[in-house]
Symmetry: C2
Subunit: 339 residues, 2 copies
DNA sequence: CTGAAAGCGCTTACAG
DNA sequence: CTGAAAGCGCTTACAG
């Protein structure tokens, strides 16, 4: 017998000598099928290498058991372990994860959201609260269930599993001030279309304002998240007439880039200038001196996001947002300024 | 008028006052539709937030314009930029990428392959040549077009866009020997089910054998790809009675872990022991001392893989595999042994 | 426990 | 340039 290359339920039915309805039940609700029938069917499925066609399935059942995650980038570990936990939690519920990335571009985000919905995602994980108006409209119009992670706001209309970037950056800045720094600079991510980046900037500014004179924010440089760019921004800051004694970085990648560049320039960290990061990814301990940074509870956040989304998808509950606390991890790159 | 939450072609047809056939044409072959009709339809689509249902589309057209990539892990940058290039190249052709990860587990790989095929992937990008027998059978039975990357073999039955791991590891080992090292150890990845890891081990062994006495491979430790594990393996090697003068690592993550641990243990790199890596990801220059490593042409590989897969999918050509060369990048972590 | 049949949202010859 | 209609692969009341 010739095996069909793309076997369908009908092919399985023929081989297993049963109706397509029974095959479907054997796959989806096995205990509604007699054990011997089930066995026969399972053998036929294996023999043919049958996999259900998700299109037909989605069409007929009006659900896909699939959710989508749209993250800014896969290029560094910022989202990797959170996404991993998200996926693991979904897998327990038998839900498949589809992943797409945006390159920090709102238009890309919109088209990736549409693409994932088109591919049958029942719900979405989105990063951050900043979103194009057309994207918001689309999400609202289509009443797409989604949870927003990596940030938190007390906004009852949106379901968050995240943390307060403003508060976290504020806290780190206060610590830098407490250690005696007064001339401070920041190397931040690009704030446009990125509320995490902009709230971290606002948090730093607010802390320095609240602390009052003589604390001063010399400069905030915005640059894409790459080590090289972080290094460039660092070199730039250190060439100005007034040099900071501490530089607060928008994330660990920028901070690591600054530290590497400092070494190349013969600038000692933290003796000549202190550096802090944000995220606490692996790179924070790879770099030398090791990085004082803000730890983000990625794994717990990812897991919670999955649970909230599943609850949204499978129950009528209206689950509440979850705010996670961040924590300052003290390592070598931050020390009091030379007196 | 009440807007449907999940608008269908029929809804668009009603609003735009046209048949579903015309709507479909306006979307897929716009120039077969009168300009004014097209405009009316586009407005209706926007108004309703319509996105085509990929299930219905795949069912009716028997293609999905989607390919899947299955990578071992998203947890570090080993595959990130290659995948990025792969995606960019696909995007040019209007093809969507679905990504899944396996955690270096053959069974997971099989189920993720099935899942992506189920979700309509027309073709696949796979990493490495090691694969479970059932996975091979499935790929063959279903005649699934795929390209294998991150490795290369002169096997005409499989389409590769990769490099020769054995040769690359052999080359690095020869360089280490050339610089005068004779007592060598290796910290490798887990070779089971991972041909890249095992071929790198074989390459190192072969080089040392070819070089002949007094060169000796003291020990090969296999460990999962994490900095901590790399550090543990390093500590272990340095506590043995016979200490190596050079440690060749299976990838940069392991090597970085070794270097970080060396610092903690007060062991000087490269004075006390040299370290080499594999991949040349960002971490190779973040770590201090910076890492001498094998550069893998990730971006070109990803782009080629996409082109080969598209060729497979859209033409009747039988494209040929592409072998990329790797290159040793000299940095600080490798130096001649103390004489 | 099993089967016949309707219908999910699309595309595409076919006809005009 | 446009429309009516068949059919893609599934699931699921309904009937037995």
């Amino acid at each position: 017998m010739k095996k069909p290359v793309n076997p369908t339920l009908e092919d399985v039915a023929r081989v297993a000598n049963a109706s397509t309805a029974t095959i479907s039940r054997a796959i989806n609700t096995p205990d509604k099928v007699a054990p011997e029938t089930r066995l026969r069917i399972l053998n036929a499925i294996r023999e043919l290498g049958y996999t259900p066609h998700s299109g037909g399935r989605a069409l007929a059942s009006n659900r896909s058991n699939t959710v989508g995650a749209i993250i800014p980038t896969m290029a560094n570990a910022m989202f990797a372990s959170g996404l991993q936990s998200f996926q693991e939690e979904l897998a327990i519920a038998g839900v498949t994860l589809l992943v797409a990335s945006t390159g920090y571009d709102g238009k890309h985000e919109f088209s990736q959201i549409q693409s994932l919905i088109t591919h049958g995602a029942d719900g979405l994980l989105l990063i951050g609260a900043a979103r194009l108006p057309e994207t918001r409209e689309f999400l609202a119009l289509r009443q797409i269930p989604y949870v927003v992670s990596w940030c938190y706001k007390p906004d009852p209309k949106i379901l968050f599993a995240g943390f307060d970037n403003h508060k976290a950056a504020y806290g780190m800045t206060m610590e830098v001030l407490r250690q005696g720094h007064r001339k401070i600079a920041m190397i931040a991510g690009i704030s446009e279309g990125n509320d995490r980046a902009s709230n971290r900037i606002k948090g730093v500014k607010q802390a320095i304002r609240d602390f009052g004179s003589p604390a001063k924010l010399l400069k905030v440089m915005q640059t894409p998240y790459s080590q090289t760019k972080g290094g460039d921004a660092f070199a730039n800051l250190m060439h100005k007439p007034t040099v900071p004694t501490a530089i607060i970085c928008g994330n660990d990648v920028l901070a690591a880039g600054a530290i590497v560049r400092a070494r190349q320039l013969g600038i000692a960290i933290p003796r000549d200038v202190s550096i802090t990061g944000f995220d606490d990814i692996d790179i924070a301990t790879t770099v030398y001196p090791t990085l004082t940074t803000v730890r983000v509870p990625q794994r717990r956040m990812g897991r919670s996001a999955a649970r909230l989304l599943l609850e949204l998808l499978t129950t009528d509950n209206k689950p509440a947002s979850i705010e996670f606390e961040t924590e300052i991890i003290f390592r070598e790159s931050l020390a009091p300024p030379p007196s």
